[in-house]
Amino acid sequence: MTDVRELQKITPRSDTRDVLAHAAKDAQKLADTFIVDIDAHVTETAFWSEITDRIDNDYLRHAAKSFRERGGSPPGLLNIQPGMLYQDMFGRIPHGQQSDAIIGEDTHRQIELTRRAMDSMGIDYTVAFPTPMLLLGMHPQAEVEVALGRAFNRWLIEELLPREPRIKAMMYLPFNDPDACVDVVEEFADAPGVIGFTVVSTRYKPVHHNSYMRLYAALQAAGRPLAFHSGFHWGDESMKQVNRFISMHAISFCYFNMIHLTNWIINGIPERFPSLKIIWVESGLAWVPFLMQRLDSEYMMRSSEAPLLRRRPSEYIRDMFFTSQPLETSNLKLTQATMEAINAESQLLFASDWPHWDFDLPRSITSLPFLSEQAKRNILGLNAARLFGFEVPPHKLATVPAPEPALAK
């Protein structure tokens, strides 16, 4: 007699564990695999007052607080456009709302949500990034980016990281103010749970400007990786030419990281800071072999314009790290060629992007037919263990690559 059980429709109120129930079945097969999710997100607007109450400056703290008196309590000081957040396709993909009912007073709601997702996917460690703050690089007031970035970092240190050791963070760098970035590195480089630092890529600042050299020197001295986390911005002059969210979203993430990576290479930053580890986050991978070939071709003809380079641009790119999501797999031959081009076996880091609409699961890596079992384990977690110094439980220790000399402490 087969047991018949009815399943509920998934809504914005559904429990994350119900939404990810199929993923949990897959995760049972990965019990001996070390998995690090390099890019998952908190939804900071759900607890925005916890961030803004930590703003140092009393004027800006008051300004943010005053928004709570307005109808709907909009997230004061943020520069997002709420009416153009089309990620859920108008109700088609509900989980991004993270409206789970949370029972219990001892646990911060965000921690419980993150734990539910991690446990469902079989993830050992996750790195928490913000969500609407990814657009702060476009804020016209640099001092607001500094204030909110610092407040978010303090929230991470005080609320999130101490309560769940499986959650790690790459601290927010207010890149529109180079000196303030150095302050962030000096304050948080050795803080528990901090494994690196982040620039949100959606901005127009040239990463090669002399004003950033102190920051890169501080990061290199601290032995902490620097992540460029991309995002989208429909208000960008180029993106204003496309009329659908799909078009803008497909291009915008790659667009910003392509510009920053190009400036990074052509201006010889890897030669100036050879031990600084760079991670390119949330742009997928398909753009990378394009840029490798394009830059190599032009460099070989115009090397006089990039005098610091001693190798082809693609060789520097192969030393960098990339996160996997959103992994493009509609043409697996291209996916395979891309992974060979970027040396994915040692340089690619699994990322889910949960709870966002285009998230990936560990099966995005385990289902790839051209990867060896060792390559899958490396991408899912062992590359991250090497880069960040995570301790791998013995039963998940298949093979760990040798530690990076610059990071061995």
Binding site: V4, R5, L7, Q8, K9, I10, H22, M89, I93
Partner: protein, 121 residues
């Protein structure tokens, strides 16, 4: 294969659907007027719980005889949308509107009296 009664046909309103776990397999049953169709609750994209998603009418673009666009509107075809990533499938065919090779696995469903039977694979 075993035929399993999962409930009464009258418990599913026209245009609505219900989802059942039958041991290891999960099945979505959809009512289209007087007819019922059923599909496995597993998205061919990444294995998501497609039948637990919402139903939408297919979106169409209004193209005039001179090939100019007059925007978008809902058509008549009913789609189920996977709640994981938004993959849509026509309820009549089980196929993705842009790639017919991407399709849901159909499950035989039968009405006897008011009883709704699923042929579990």
């Amino acid at each position: 294969m075993a035929e399993i009664m999962v409930g009464n046909a009258t418990d599913i309103a026209d245009g609505d659907h219900r989802i059942f776990a039958l041991g290891e397999i999960e099945v979505g049953v959809f009512r289209l007027g007087d007819r019922f169709v059923a599909y496995e609750n597993r998205c061919p994209h990444h294995g998501g719980p497609v039948c637990q998603g919402r139903l939408f009418n297919r979106v169409e673009e209004i193209i005039m005889p001179d090939q100019t666009s007059r925007g978008m509107r809902f058509g008549r075809d009913r789609h189920v949308v996977c709640p994981w990533h938004g993959y849509e499938f026509d309820l009549e065919t089980g196929r993705h509107p842009g790639d017919a090779r991407m399709r849901l696995r159909p499950i035989p469903v039968r009405i006897s009296g008011d009883a709704l039977y699923i042929e579990a694979p």
